[in-house]
Symmetry: C2
């Protein structure tokens, strides 16, 4: 049975996240419904690279699934986009080998986080705005290097008992300071639940409270999420920006 | 009774335009409701610089109204934004002389129109996308200069029997060609109903049909809106960008 990989983009505003849940509109559910148009195996399973939370957007997300039929990339993109709501768009499609997984074959994931300096009618869906916080870009920027490298990130995650360990390697974490917004960019081999939003939220809180950025080091070492400095930044500023794979895996035949 | 002028911005997606109508959500209605918090005269009348249509956005719109009370600019902005929905934001407020009108004191109005080359989940609310049209930027660009200057624009307007004449002076009409969108920018002393969308839509249709841009000249001269070449481009790409006033009128005391 051929396996397919698709690259897609979605506006997370009106989704209860990626993962299928009862009585909720999710991206996975919309995809599975659109795919039922093909002679899909029952049950059809769509595996995403990252399970984004409610309100989180994706510039580039990836998902794989198996279908009975051979479908060309052009056919796949056209057929899915005709059947999907306009807040999800499929950008590209590939046929991949049956051992490829959008989730487990990913080498790393990259996220962007947009923090608005002023709220406008046009940024309200695609950036966070924190009127109760004084945005101290200088302190925020100095926090970021402390997250780099391999650490146990328990402090910055919702506890997940299914995980063997909480170690992640943060490969990149930068801040771009613009007139009207701050843009955070982060890449890691994997992310724990809420990890990006907690790292960014906590850096914003340290800036607001005029604290020493070095505190990040102690927070990581403590491996304890129950600290008053931990703040989960809101979801609307977060975008899954890219997922990195070994290119040989993606044959576009 | 002091007269106030406000500068505001709104996302037109969920509004049935500017003007109050029964059983419809409009910008004017939201403003009048928010203003009823002050000791507003009954009836309270809010006059806008431009009566944008359903789905049309405003980067900068202006409106004036009279209130019994003296209210500082800071108070006005804060009080209104607390009471307005988040798809409208008041940006600034001035007290003006009682002969000032956001509508009649305006020297000119500037609009932007965004035409997307590809539809994405993030541009769907803020740009037009015309999959049935081949976008011929070269022909479109050559159409624009024919609109410049003073003309009777009856060809490009919904008939309005209340108007004495259909003459308008188009002072600027340019096209910026980007990788993923075309941006039109137009300024005129006044605009007739649907005029921007019909000028842009018709230029797009001429490009699609590979016609001579000079046809615009004949279309204007004919003063006849019933021509198969006339096409009204969709509202979601249109933004009221700025309204120009003689600055002395706006005292920020």
């Amino acid at each position: 049975m051929p396996r397919y990989l698709i690259r897609l983009s979605y506006d997370g505003t009106h989704f209860s996240g990626w993962q299928i849940q009862d009585h909720a509109r999710t991206v996975q559910q919309c995809l599975e419904k659109a795919l039922s148009y093909f002679d899909a195996p029952v049950p059809l399973t769509v595996t995403g690279a990252g399970r984004t939370d409610a309100g989180v957007h994706a510039l580039r997300q990836y998902a794989n699934f198996d279908l009975e039929k051979e479908i060309s990339p052009q056919q796949m993109v056209a057929a899915l986009n005709t059947r999907l709501p306009d807040d999800i768009r499929v950008l590209q499609s590939w046929q991949v080998t049956s051992d490829f997984s959008a989730r487990y074959s990913a080498l790393s994931r990259s996220y962007e986080y947009h923090l608005a300096i002023h709220r406008t009618p046009f940024n309200r869906l695609y950036s966070a705005f924190l009127p109760r916080y004084r945005i101290n870009a200088e302190i925020i920027e100095k926090c970021l290097p402390y997250f780099l490298g391999e650490h146990d990130f328990s402090t910055f995650a919702k506890l997940n008992p299914d995980l063997h360990h909480q170690r992640c390697t943060v490969q990149e974490f930068t801040l771009e300071i613009k007139d009207d917004e701050l843009i955070f960019r982060i890449r890691a081999n994997r992310f724990l639940h809420n990890m990006v939003r907690r790292m960014i939220g906590t850096s914003i809180r340290l800036g607001h409270q005029n604290k020493d950025p070095m505190i990040i080091k102690d927070l990581i070492a403590a491996a304890n999420p129950n600290n008053d400095l931990i703040f989960t930044a809101p979801p609307e500023g977060l975008f899954l920006a890219e997922v990195e794979y070994i290119l040989e895996c993606i044959s576009s035949r």
